[in-house]
Symmetry: C2
């Protein structure tokens, strides 16, 4: 049971967490904090939070659980503002999709990684955004990855794990670097490829015409290219090394595929397509 939860950044992710915990009866009071008062008032009106503070230090005072759900680029400033104001029993976690950069931000803000910080990442859709889009079921059966480090207090990790489990999520733990590679492969690379495809088509001379003939497959494939550009810029900067690694793997594999097409090697193409289809069908159902 969380006595007082403070959510810094009350959008889809933070708002859905608050809703899920309330529904589970797993939280006493929920305090929201964010830059814009109209968003916070909306969150109060929607019953997502009980009250709000616009000053981060005031917002975390007395909270036993603090969830930081702000863009990657804003992490350091948030930790600098909240760390002196935390209660003695407070645990802090975040929801950033790139963990090494969050660790670096926290380390810089707090002069070292504190025992009360548990790095976390709920893998849940973020094409829609804002507290209006939040809903209590968002984390049901979804994955949450925690990446505690050596100095992290194991009791803090347990409290964060329990919080996510109360939302219906499946929680696992991973090394920071491993998380960043897994996410580079499954999320960051696909987003970059989709943005890249739309860019390539937009660069064609006949691009207006080309888009007119795009059908359902193209729509699905490029849906993620409608994601928030600021968020994805931040992710590309934050998870640069792992993303470059995956882009290089992909470029290498695509060059092989190009060779098969150029050589008219039907057998190799059929084999690759069959293997890919069976991998996808196997894992995605």
């Amino acid at each position: 049971m969380i006595r007082r939860l403070t959510v810094i950044g009350v959008g889809l992710i933070g708002g859905s967490l608050a809703r899920a915990l309330r529904r589970a009866g797993a939280v006493g009071e929920v305090v929201g904090c964010s830059r814009r008062i109209e968003h916070l008032q909306r969150a109060v009106d929607l019953g997502v939070i009980d009250r709000y503070e616009t000053d981060m230090a005031t917002a975390v005072a007395g909270a036993d659980m603090v969830v930081v759900s702000v863009p990657l680029g804003a992490m350091e400033a948030v930790f600098r503002a909240i760390s002196p104001a935390l209660a003695a029993d407070a645990v802090v976690t975040d929801v950033g999709s790139s963990k090494a950069s969050v660790m670096a931000a926290v380390e810089a803000a707090c002069d070292g990684v504190p025992a009360w910080f548990v790095p976390g990442h709920p893998i849940a859709g973020a094409e829609r955004s804002g507290v209006e889009a939040s809903f209590a079921d968002l984390y049901e059966t979804r994955r949450v990855i925690l990446t505690p480090v050596e100095v992290t207090d194991p009791a803090a990790t347990t409290r964060v794990r329990t919080m996510w489990e109360r939302c219906g999520a499946r929680v696992s733990e991973m090394q920071v670097a491993h998380h960043d590679e897994v996410l580079a492969a499954t999320s960051h690379l696909p987003h970059i490829l989709a943005y890249g495809l739309v860019d390539t088509l937009a660069n064609l001379e006949e691009h207006d015409e080309v888009f007119q003939y795009a059908a359902g497959g193209f729509r699905d494939f490029t849906r993620i290219a409608s994601s928030d550009p600021t968020m994805w810029r931040d992710i590309c900067l934050a998870n640069r090394v792992a993303i470059l690694k995956m882009m290089d793997f992909y470029t290498r594999d695509l060059a092989k595929l190009r060779e098969m097409v150029e050589a008219g090697d039907g057998e190799a193409l059929f084999e690759l397509f069959t293997r890919a289809k069976s991998e996808r069908d196997g894992f995605m159902g």
Copy 2:
């Protein structure tokens, strides 16, 4: 009004065409032809066709409209079998997703491109397949591209255009080579990229784990990698030149994107993502 329609290859595409024309009252008799009797019997049971023939020459005899909806690799053999048996007023069209290769197949089978052949391509989903998946609404508001050549009888083109319009489709005409480039960009390239991504992930050491953390965006992005490997092998072989051209454009653009990530150029990334998002949102709604 079509007196007798013969559909060679009664699957999703051919079956949906027959259903749509029947519903529109635009066809008298529908004859199906395909390699497997159980599929043909199923099509009769479903009311998609009136009767079937297993011999292609017999199937087209007396038909005033023949639609060839077989894999690209089977086109030449079909045209060789049907051309001597066509009625004097017969018009033939196809549904292949790569037109230059179909023209070459028809030319080889008929000693030159005949006036009665109108190359066509309905741009409609083909992830599901088989006559069981066919439905009368498939072509409603969908695009159909016809690529008549100089020798094509304009009256034949009009008859094929009318047929598709009766199904609710929006019909346009294009040069063969232009069609092949537009489709390479909007359909063939995305399929290859999706197959490529699943392949890259499958090649990772930790690939079992990686797929477990794949979320909704990945699912959408790779949906088309669950398409039929035989069909996509045929398309890669048939539309090789245009596909290689688009792959090279894409690889060039992806290399630029990689440079932005490597340089940590947040401004350039933000600009590219914003432009891509606005292009996609503008065209896809």
